[in-house]
Every structure is written in C-alpha cells, then in structure tokens.
C-alpha cells in the first residue's frame, strides 16, 4: 500500500469521520427547496424569445402583438439594458468584458448563436408568456456561421465581432479576428531539446463540445420594489457572483440587491454566469410584481455555456532512459460567441504534471457561433491532458518502460518551476503515482482476452483559493452555528461542521451549518475551483479560533485568573498555572450571558495557498468489435486529496468526477447541423452515463496535507474529471490495436476505426461493413 501517511493520522477526532449530512433529511423527503420551488404571492412567469439562427444581424424587433396579448404584464428587449463600457470585470471563475455582457444576455444588433436571447416577456402564467414570446416578430439578415475552431481562425472566416480588444502574447490590442486570446509560456530551448531527444512523438488531437449536464434546469425569481431594492432567489454556484453580475448589467449598487441562494441541483461550473436573473429583475421592475424565469432543457443545451471543443498538437521528446527533454503544445479552444479565457486555463495545466526543462505552450481562445463557453470541472485541463497522456502512453510502449514508472521519473515535485512560472509548493504527484503502482488493481494481471487492455492516465487541476467569509456563533448551551457564504453543491455543509467541531472540541452533530444570503454573511466567492472545503473551510477555522479567543477571558473570569493563563487544547479550555478542571465549550455556553454576553467568531480571508490536485486512473476495458462499444471491466481512481475531511463525500467527488470524464471520453458530444444548429438538445441524444454505463469505481485516497491549510485540505472535486479521457483512450488503443485521437470514443467511431484497420490489413469482411456515422450513441 501507499508508503505515505498523513502526519496527523489518528490525531483528529472529527475530521475523517462520516457523519450524516445536516441537510440530508430535507433532501430525501422532498422538503429541500431549490430554485424551481420558489413561489411568491402574485408571481408572474417569464419566457424568452431566442434566435433561431446561429449567426445573423437583427434588422427589427416588433413586440406590439405580444404586448397586446391579454395576461401579458411586461416585455423587455436589449433597448431596456443600459450601455456598458469596454471594461473587463472578474466574473466568478472567469472574466467578462462588460460591453459584451449585456449583449450576451439580450442581443441587440447581432445574434451570435442559436438560442441567443432577444426579448423576454412576463405574463400571468407560463403558457401565456410562451404564447406572447412567439408573437414577437424579428427580422434577420442571416449570416454564415462558423463553428469549428480551426476554421474560425482562418483569414476569410465569418467574423463574429467587427473589432475586439484581444490580449495577444500579453499585449492588449484591437484586432479584426475571431482570436480573442493567445497565451504563451516558455521554458529553456525546445528546439535544442528536441535535437537532443532519442524519441520524438508528435500527434494531433480533437475533442468536441460537451455540457456540464446538471439535472436541475436554470431558474431565477426576482422582486424589484419601487424604492430600488431587489431580491433574487436562484440556484447558483455563487450568490455574490450573481449580485455582482446583475449589478453590472443593470447598473445598480451592490447594497440594493439581495441574492438568496436556494439549494442547487448541480452546476459543475455551469451555474456561475447569469442568464435569467437580469431578465427577471428587468421584468419585475417593469411589472411591479415578482417574476419567475425557467429554462427548458433544450435551451440549456443550446444557450448556456458548455465546455470548449478543442484542436491540439502535442510534441514530446524523450531520452532513451525515459527522461522528458522537451515538450510543446499548440491548441485552439472554442471560446463561444464572446471573448473568453478557458484556453489559457488549458495552457496552465497541460505540462504541469511533468518536469519539462525545455518547453513551449501556445494556446488560442477562438470565438465561434456557439454559446459562450463556461467553466466545467477543471476547465480546459481534460482536453489538454487527453493529448499529453496519449503521447505518454505511446512513449511508454516505444521506450519499453512501465507507464507509471515513466510518469514517476518525470513527475513534478516541490521546488520545481511550472512552465507558467509557478514554483511548486508541496504536491502529491509522486505519492499518487506510488499509491497507484502499489494498488491491488495495478498489481493484478492486465486483462489479456481478445479486445481487452488496461490503460491509465494522469489528471491535474490547479485548484482555486479566492475570498471566503464565515461566522461561528456559540449558542447558550455551548453548541455552535456556522454560517458561510459558500453555496453547498455536494455536501460541503457537513465538512464545514466537521472543521468547526474539530476546532471547538464539539461533535459534528452539535454544529449546525448553513449557507447565508448576501445580506447575512461577508463576501464569499463562488463554489468552484475546488475551493470551498479549502478556502471557506479556512474561514470557518478562523471564525472558530476567533470565538475561542473571545471565550478565553470568560473562562478567566470564572477561574478568577489572568486570561493569558487560559489555553484551548485538545477540545477544552485549560489553565497553564492553577489546577482548574478543563472546561469544554459545552460547559462554558450556559455561562456566557453572565460573563459578558454572546460570542460570535468571524473569519474572512483571501486564500492563496491552495494546493494543486493530482490523480491517476486505471481502467481495464473490453471493446465489442462488432458494435464498437466499450465495457469497463475494472476502474480505480487514485488521488492526492490533502486531508479527507468527510471521506464519504471525498470519494463521492472522485467517483462522480470520474463518471463525468468517462461520459466525455466515450459518448458525450455536441452535434451541429450545417446551419450551426445544435441537433442533440436533450438527454436522449446527448448521451450522459447511466447506471448501466459505469462500473464500480474503486477509490484510493492519498493524503499529502496542504501546508497552506490548517487541516491540510487541498481541493478535490475537479481533478477526477481529467484522467478518464486519456485513460479510456489508452485502454481502447491497447484493446483494438489502433489509436483514436478524436473524442468521443463512441461506438460508431471505435467501430469505424476497427473497420479501417481491417480494411488496411486486407481483411475486409462483407458482414462487417461499417454503417457508422459520427452521431451520438444509441441508447
């Protein structure tokens, strides 16, 4: 087993236990209230008119027939939005130019993707609203769309925007191009490195657009009062991010807006940008009534931010002994209809797992007539590492070196410099590889039947820090209430309670954790970047410590001693001098009123010491040569998690992330028609994994504590989506004897590759003629 042991192993009382989540009963009884469950008295229902064209100029919008329909209370178009400056603002996990933000939310002069909102209506019921939206007449000049990233980079390609402010090689310029960002990182001398190499492998890869696929649709309800005060109820990954975005688009002061985050039914990065919230506010301002907006599943697929399609070229040079001597990466990432930065994130990740003495990374963010790309779990790392890990697999075979050993000898470690300039703090890449090498799965014989093989690949995500706030209120019976600003998307409330309980010497069940609205807690950034347990957990720790500091003088008063003589150790207040019996927080609670009143601890920070996350996945697969369908026989996910606060939910993040990655690798893709329209706008044709598609996923938690967190936490949630792409690609290449460098590895594509191989080998069988087309897999 893994040689590495967490230094605090066995010292924690609450951390590492598996209490029932505090919000659990509400969620198994149907009582939990999500965005769709909001109902306000006198509420109107909104609908959105969306562009039927992927690219076009709006010649006119006539809303008069919609306004005349009985039951319609308000209609709004881009004319109702304020003009915004050409100014970039931080927006959740990304950045957004304000100039484009309002036209993304309601198109003015041009529509840039099918499903682009043009007008919105509020009416007495949802059916009247939908009927009214259909009565709005829009005249378009239809333009040729461009959807492919490489075509969009060509000189004669259709242009989405006339001129844009682009950042090319670190310099801001006005350009007439669909390229909105060019990121370059360099180290050493790649050309000289390749000249020294004994083995050079250069390959091209393609991945398709995929969607986060959260089961809960987007919803927003807003009430705007005539005095300017606004309340928004919504399902979001960040109540404060919603407040900032709405305030920006509608030119409001932050203190005028209160955002109440409801329970959220999945997000994975996709519920950071606002889509419906500004429209609901606009319609409420016009009608004077609360307005609820909902989005259909088809609109979610065609009009909310998916993850980038990509085209990449990976070149690695090795010495005979397996040492990487040089590596380059060139890629184009789909940005969608507006300037974006997700390619840059891929550039940060692509070479991070390895020591690269000579390297160059060139990544282009390219605008296409598709919805603006949003974050999706470790945004842009899966596409980048799919290519790198495929090349590593080829190299391991060509060099005759075990694939884990090859990765181990080149593994990134503390003190080395990453190509984007960051000097690695303590990371667990080596410990992760060692645990994988020593795992029961890897030690078992690889499957050796026909069309069977084993594959493995590394995954990496930078993880985020950012701003968090928490309060810890000590109750009069010595129990505690924790409030944070982090939306709980997958069980984080339980982790907050665990960390507060550990710090205060309480049981997890004695702490009640909740998620505050924007009026009840200090600013807290989004639940994203695998930052919540790390950064908000740190805020909870600071708030708990603050409460302890406030309680020390109370104990001193009771003991009639100098407060400096009171310490808090091993879950109780203790005296350094006299022989007082230790006093727990539970014992002190009832005495707080008599010793000075309530105690509330505060904790806020800008967290910057997030530890990056590494994982390695191993899969044994069998491919059916007749159908091209891949069956996973065994799957193991190994990951450095820092410290597992609530191991059941850590394992859940790893298994869930791996499952999304398996879907990305094997089946999921956007399929567009020739006019740029998305053809698979539902869960039937956008084929996400079902119970029948995924195996039992074994998890191995490696705990290399993050020195930047009091309990050693590093982010967990995003890394596990990265390895499955390479893992499945490598396993399938071994199983069928031919490597496919384009995702998804869907049955039709795999079957076609097998047929092509057999044709090339002159073994054409009439019975096995391929009828496969690159369409989503049949269910």
């Amino acid at each position: 087993m893994a040689a590495f042991t967490h230094p605090n192993h066995g010292k924690y009382k609450v951390i590492g236990t598996r209490p029932i989540r505090h919000d659990g009963e509400d969620k198994v009884t149907g009582r939990a209230r999500y965005g769709a469950d909001v109902h306000q008295p006198g509420m109107l229902h909104g609908a959105v008119l969306r562009s039927p064209h992927a690219h076009g100029r709006i010649l006119s919008v006539d809303t008069s027939r919609a306004e005349a329909l009985p039951g319609v209370r308000a209609v709004a178009t881009a004319k109702d939005l304020p003009e915004l400056p050409d100014k970039v603002m931080a927006s959740g996990e990304g950045i957004e130019n304000q100039r484009y933000m309002s036209t993304r939310i309601l198109a003015g002069e041009k529509v840039l993707f099918k499903g682009h909102p043009i007008a919105t209506v509020a009416a007495d019921d949802p059916w009247i609203a939908q009927d009214a939206a259909a009565l709005i007449e829009v005249k378009y000049e239809v333009l040729e769309p461009v959807l492919d990233v490489l075509k969009a980079m060509e000189d004669g390609a259709p242009r989405l925007h006339d001129k844009i402010t682009a950042t090319l090689m670190g310099k801001k310029e006005q350009v007439d191009s669909n390229v909105c960002l060019h990121t370059r990182f360099q180290a050493g001398d790649p050309e000289a490195g390749f000249a020294e190499a004994d083995l050079v492998i250069e390959r091209e890869f393609r991945t398709k657009t995929v969607h986060q696929g959260y089961i809960e649709p987007h919803h927003a309800t807003a009430l705007a009062l005539s005095d300017g005060q606004i309340t928004i109820w919504t399902s979001t990954q960040g109540a404060f991010a919603v407040r900032e975005q709405v305030a920006t688009v509608l030119k409001k002061e932050l203190s005028k807006i209160k955002v109440i985050p409801m329970e959220i039914g999945g997000g994975f990065g996709g519920k950071i940008p606002v889509y419906l919230e500004p429209l609901a506010v606009l319609l409420s301002e016009k009608s004077g009534k609360p307005v609820k907006m909902t989005m259909s599943r088809a609109d979610i697929f065609q009009a909310t931010g998916p993850a980038s399609a990509s085209a990449s070229r990976v070149k690695f040079g090795f010495k005979k002994d397996g040492t990487i001597i040089a590596a380059t990466f060139w890629a184009a990432y789909e940005a969608g209809a507006y300037p974006n930065i997700y390619g840059m994130m891929g550039a940060m990740c692509v070479l991070a797992p390895y020591k690269i003495p000579n390297g160059q990374v060139d990544v282009y963010d390219v605008m296409t007539n598709t919805p603006k790309v949003a974050a999706y779990r470790a945004p842009s790392s899966p596409q980048a590492l799919f290519g790198v890990e495929s090349v590593m697999d080829e190299a391991s075979k060509a060099l005759g070196i075990d694939p884990i050993e090859l990765r181990l000898m080149n593994a990134a470690e503390e003190g080395e410099q990453r190509i984007d300039g960051l000097k690695w703090p303590r990371i667990g890449m080596i410990e992760t590889l060692e645990a994988a090498r020593d795992s029961a799965h890897y030690k078992s014989p690889a499957p050796s039947g026909p069309n069977q093989a084993r594959g493995l690949a590394i995954g990496f995500w930078v993880n985020a820090g950012m701003q968090s706030s928490a309060t810890v209120g000590i109750n009069m019976d010595g129990t505690a209430n924790v409030v944070t600003g982090s939306v709980d998307i997958g069980g984080s409330r339980a982790s907050m309670a665990i960390m507060a309980a550990e710090t205060l010497g309480l049981k997890a069940e004695e702490v009640r954790p909740s998620v505050g609205d924007t009026d009840s807690i200090g600013h807290t950034d989004i639940t994203a970047g695998s930052r919540t347990t790390y950064a908000t957990g740190h805020a909870v720790y600071l708030a708990s410590l603050d409460a302890i500091e406030q309680m020390k003088p109370r104990v001193a008063k009771l003991w009639d001693c100098d407060p400096a003589e009171v310490v808090f150790e091993e879950g109780a207040f203790r005296s350094t001098k006299n022989g007082q019996e230790p006093m727990t927080v539970r014992q002190l609670g009832p005495k707080l009123p008599a010793t000075g009143g309530p105690v509330q601890g505060q904790g806020s920070l800008m967290a910057t010491a997030q530890g990056s996350g590494f994982g390695l996945h191993i899969a044994d697969v069998e491919v059916d040569p007749d159908t091209g369908k891949t069956t996973i026989l065994r799957y193991t996910a190994v990951q450095d998690v820092g410290t597992a606060i609530h191991p059941a939910y850590v394992e859940g993040q790893i298994i869930g992330g791996a499952t999304q990655g398996i879907g990305w690798a094997l089946n999921e893709e956007y399929v567009h028609g020739d006019k740029g329209e998305l053809l698979n706008t539902g869960f039937l044709d956008y084929r996400m994994p079902t119970t029948l598609d995924v195996p039992v996923i074994e998890t191995i938690l490696v705990e290399v504590p993050n020195p930047g967190h009091p309990y050693g936490v590093r982010g967990v949630g995003e890394t596990p989506i990265v390895p499955p792409l390479g893992t499945m690609g490598n396993a399938i290449a071994g199983a069928i004897g031919v490597r496919i460098r384009e995702l998804p590895l869907s049955p039709p594509r795999v079957q076609a590759a097998i047929a092509a191989k057999e044709n090339a080998a002159g073994k054409t069988e009439a019975a096995r003629e391929t009828t496969a087309k690159p369409v989503p897999a049949q269910s």
């Binding site: 598996r18 029932i20 989540r21 919000d23 659990g24 009963e25 969620k27 198994v28 009884t29 149907g30 009582r31 939990a32 209230r33 999500y34 769709a36 469950d37 109902h39 009985p70 039951g71 007495d124 019921d125 059916w127 986060q212 696929g213 959260y214 089961i215 809960e216 649709p217 329970e263 959220i264 039914g265 999945g266 997000g267 994975f268 259909s296 599943r297 998307i489 997958g490 069980g491 059941a648 939910y649 394992e651 859940g652 993040q653 298994i655 869930g656 791996a658 499952t659 999304q660 539902g682 869960f683 039937l684 996400m688 994994p689 079902t690 119970t691 029948l692 995924v694 039992v696 996923i697």
Partner: protein, 163 residues
C-alpha cells in the same frame, strides 16, 4: 382565462384526495408542484429522459412530465413526500443518507420513488437488476455507485426485518 382551457382534476395524492384547477396544457408534474404545492418531485428535462420527476401512478412508475394533469383524474399518485411513514424515514431514505448516495440531491426524489417500486417487485435485487431498473434515472453527481449500494442495503434490511 376562460374555463374551457382549464378543468378540475381530482386525484388521490399520497393517500389524500386533492382537487386542483389544471390548465389543459398542464402536466402531472406541474399539477403536483405548482397546483398541489408538492415540490419534492423535480423537473429535469420535461421530455421523459432523466427520471427526476418519477412518481407512482396506479402502482406503476411514470415520468410525471409525460402525463397530462387531466389524465390523473381518479388516479392514485404517490410522490417522494409519501415515502416516509410519518416521521419515520423509509429504509431507502435512511440508507441514501448513510451511504452518501446524494450530492446535490435533485435526482434523489426520483431515485427513491423508482427504487421503492423495485423493492416492492423484487425484495432481493442483484447489482445488475438494480442498475437495470434504475437506468431511467439520471444522476450527474454521484456516479451511481453509492445509490446502488444504498438500494441493495435497504433491501437487505427490509428482508431481515420482514422475517
């Protein structure tokens, strides 16, 4: 807003007779959520592909988004709100919590309704039988494993307490 676009629908929901005024375009899902106020049943797609809106209707699991409210006239409906016995959680509900078989929780009501129907038909389902029965319920968070474990653990507990 004329009466010819709406009708009164009366159904037994979790054992209580409930009448609602339903628009002719209203689905059973919308009737439960918006007219009867039972928001435990969730919308995921409105096309019958995700199973988040699963309810029991006259003893069968249905996607309530694909049933018109008018079709529920006289029907017996059971939703997630009807699974617990008063304040006692159903073994499935307890096992979902013990196994951490939910993350965001939006698919959980549909899984519980489907799983309860499975255990009523088959008190000892195999891993494969459980996966086959639940293949119409999508979960994007968990990867399903803890859900399958929770259902089979609940089945085992129910079998042993039935002895």
């Amino acid at each position: 807003m004329s009466m010819d676009t709406k009708r009164i629908v009366t159904a037994s929901i979790n054992g209580a007779e409930i009448s609602v005024m339903a628009d002719n375009r209203m689905s059973l899902l919308e009737m439960l959520r918006d007219a009867a106020g039972l928001t435990g049943t969730k919308e995921g797609c409105m096309t019958g592909d995700c199973g988040a809106c699963s309810v029991m209707m006259n003893g069968r699991v249905v996607d309530s988004c694909l049933v018109m409210a008018a079709e529920a006239e006289g029907a017996e409906i059971e939703t997630v709100e009807g699974i617990a016995d008063g304040k006692n959680l159903h073994p499935l509900q307890r096992k979902f919590l013990e196994h951490a078989a939910l993350q965001c929780g939006i698919c959980t009501p549909g899984f519980l309704v489907s799983a309860k129907a499975l255990l009523e038909k088959n008190p000892d389902p195999s891993d494969a039988e459980t996966r086959y029965w639940l293949a119409g319920n999508l979960c994007r968070c968990t990867g399903y494993q803890q859900i399958i474990d929770a259902v089979r653990d609940a089945a085992a507990e129910m079998r042993s307490s039935a002895k």
